[in-house]
């Protein structure tokens, strides 16, 4: 018996010694891979994975172990998975969450545990302002950013009476607040719809009756598909131009709405026609690997991995040097696929924001950049952030 215990201990010691040296950096990714909105999570995962694969399974010359779990867009699931990843899997870094309400529930748990969270998408105002944290970085945008750009663009197009719509959840509120921050004209109507709503007939009837000269809407995922199709079917696309953030017109949505979205303007920090070496490389590799074109979500997943790559390299793969690692993240020394990129004081991006138009490229319905709305645009909450 004694001998057995001894040999077990010996075997464990032998096993763990080499394992320690080669132990990979553990990255926990919680994202939405099933149910409504899964195309967003899948794109983030694929973008991130592509960056890791292009470096032979390594980031910053360290092997990485990517632990991926599906939250099915449910807060409860996300919190449970985060708990498991922090306590059982002992991840070093977490990332992946698509939705703001999930991020608001999970991010504080991660930062409280002393770990890093890099957001590849959700950027709720709360985490950019008073609730900011030195271990929380957003690689995509603050939620308001693209909507602010849309507000500015609608202004530039001299629309004076605009109808605005968003789902009734934190990012929806942020969206309309962002739009109104830069739009100066009259609001013909401001409507919050149920999250996950499928039929917009009632809202469209009210909209038509309000006679706006343009419509701005933010309805990500399946909601946007339903809305854009029904908007065109109601004949409104001929009389009233539609504006939105890129979320309403990503590659996945355009495939599902077909011709009904042609000619719509939408704002984005990225598009696949941005000409820089990193982006050209990214778009062609993504297309080769997955057989489809990347969406902005995929670009954000890819950039998140690139940022990690630069920061892990800066500490020579030693994740115990948390202060140096944080400084390296803050420095953001990587070539973002969107072009110029740096972090503001609240660890949210300062970047250019473009306006894109939906057009038909052969048989493929996609976006092209038609102008730049903002240069080096930060966010409105940075001043509230005390780190």
């Amino acid at each position: 018996m004694k001998k057995m215990i001894f040999s077990t201990v010996a075997a464990l010691t032998l096993m763990s010694a080499p394992a320690m040296a080669a132990e990979p950096v553990k990255i926990g990714m919680i994202t939405t891979l099933s149910g409504g909105g899964s195309s967003l999570g899948i794109d983030i995962r694929d973008g991130f994975q592509l960056a890791v694969d292009m470096r032979g399974g390594m980031l910053g010359d360290r092997k990485v172990e990517l632990i991926i779990a599906d939250d099915a867009r449910k807060v409860g699931n996300a919190k449970q998975i985060a708990d498991r990843m922090l306590k059982r899997d002992k991840v070093d870094i977490m990332t992946g969450i698509v939705w703001s309400n999930l991020a608001l529930a999970v991010v504080p748990d991660v930062t409280k545990a002393g770990k890093f969270y890099l957001s590849p998408n959700a950027g709720p105002s709360k985490l950019a302002g008073k609730g900011c944290h030195m271990n929380y970085f957003n690689v995509a945008w603050q939620n308001d950013n693209l909507h602010e750009a849309a507000g500015q663009y609608v202004n530039d197009k001299s629309h004076k009476n605009v109808y605005i719509m968003a789902p009734n959840y934190p990012a929806g509120k942020d969206a309309l607040a962002g739009f109104k921050r830069y739009y100066k004209g009259k609001i013909a109507g401001e409507v919050y719809t149920k999250l996950g709503q499928v039929d917009y007939a009632a809202e469209l009837a009210n909209l038509r009756a309000a006679k706006p000269d343009a419509v701005f809407f933010f309805l990500p995922g399946g909601m946007g598909i339903n809305f854009v199709k029904q908007y065109a079917q109601a004949g409104l696309n001929k009389s009233t131009p539609l504006y939105g953030p890129a979320f309403s017109f990503d590659e996945g949505i355009l495939k599902a709405v077909g011709d009904t979205a042609l000619g719509v303007f939408n704002t984005s920090q990225w598009n696949k026609d941005i000409k820089n070496a990193a982006n050209i490389d990214f778009v062609s590799n993504f297309h080769k690997t997955y057989g489809r074109f990347p969406s902005l979500y995929a670009s954000q997943g890819f950039d998140t991995a690139l940022l990690l790559d630069s920061a892990i390299r800066a500490v020579d793969g030693d994740m115990s040097k948390t202060d140096l690692f944080r400084d390296a993240l803050r420095a953001a020394k990587f070539q973002s696929v969107r072009g110029p990129f740096r972090f503001g004081p609240n660890h949210h991006p300062i970047q250019d924001i473009y306006v894109r138009e939906v057009y038909k490229d052969g048989d493929n319905i996609t976006n092209k950049i038609v102008g730049k709305v903002f240069s080096s645009h930060g966010d409105a909450y940075a001043a509230d952030c005390k780190m």
Partner: protein
């Protein structure tokens, strides 16, 4: 708010109502006759939508697409009943909920394997494209009128089936007293399979009709399933008539709530953004308030099952 806007919203309410009716008719029969909670009912809706989208894409014909989607949904429904659910009739509701929830995950994953995770595009059939001005000044999409007509036609056919045919008689008998029906020597297993297939077929029809106006995507069934349960609880479990009335009622309350509540509240509150916020929250609660009120007044729903 004008009278015409009110009429238009009423049409919208009817369209949502008949959609819900197609879903609820099958669910209420399965619940009422077999005493079975079937969460996977939404999956038949999704299957109907995907098969119709796929066939429509291959053949270019909306009618062939619907004609193929209906039997496929029915066959999948009957197969699920025979293989998986038959063993669950005598278990308690929690077991049924667990098992049929598992089926939702199964069908979602299967759909994702076959058709991929991205939502797919279904165009409006050219015959029903465009809009008509049945209300002056309000062009109303023809396709939505077609849905209303199809839903009402199904309601009439179901009524005939239930009242005039032998199968319908057995269904009515099964809804009021299952044990007696099987004691009288009716092959209750076969009846169950037929009812289940019929329910799946109607859900498939709802899905196939929804394709052109809604997103055909994974998990589309779950959104409508919750509303469907509200409908059958309001209408009375096991009653087709209850399903129709309940569906129209839920359609009306939901649509009017979304359409008019925010405007009404704007008159009450000084700050319009508060009114909008409250309006959005209250209107999304409205159907549950309706359900609670109905349950207080008539705990078994508006219409009891036949018997």
């Amino acid at each position: 708010m004008t009278f015409f806007l009110f009429l238009e919203q009423t049409l919208n309410a009817f369209q949502l109502g008949v959609m819900l009716f197609l879903m609820a008719a099958g669910l209420t029969l399965v619940f009422g006759i077999m005493n079975m909670i079937n969460l996977a009912h939404g999956s038949f809706y999704m299957i109907g939508a995907y098969v119709a989208a796929y066939v429509g894409h291959l053949t270019g014909s909306f009618f062939i697409a619907v004609a193929v989607a209906l039997p496929v949904a029915a066959i999948v429904g009957m197969a699920v009943e025979t293989i998986a659910l038959r063993k669950l009739y005598n278990r308690d509701h929690l077991d049924q909920v667990l098992a049929t929830f598992g089926l939702i995950l199964f069908f979602n994953e299967l759909t994702s394997i076959i058709w991929g995770p991205q939502a797919i595009f279904v165009p409006i059939p050219p015959l029903f494209a465009g809009s008509v001005e049945i209300i002056p000044g309000v062009p109303y999409p023809v396709y939505r009128l077609v849905i209303i007509a199809a839903g009402l036609a199904v309601a009439v056919l179901l009524r005939l089936l239930i009242v005039k045919t032998r199968t319908g008689m057995l269904i009515r008998a099964g809804a009021s007293n299952r044990e007696m029906v099987s004691a009288l020597g009716v092959d209750i297993d076969r009846l169950y399979t037929v009812v289940f297939g019929l329910g799946a077929l109607l859900a498939g029809l709802a899905g196939a009709l929804a394709g052109p106006i809604l997103a055909t995507e994974i998990g589309m069934g779950e959104n409508i399933l919750i509303l469907t349960f509200v409908v059958i609880i309001v209408g009375g479990i096991g009653s087709i008539r209850g399903a129709l009335i309940g569906a129209l009622l839920v359609g009306l309350v939901d649509t009017y709530g979304r359409a008019f509540l925010p405007t009404l509240l704007r008159a009450l509150f000084e700050d319009p953004s508060v009114a909008d916020g409250v309006g959005a929250s209250v209107s999304s609660m409205s159907i549950y308030i309706l359900m609670a009120v109905v349950l207080v007044i008539r705990p078994r729903g508006l219409f009891q099952a036949y018997g």
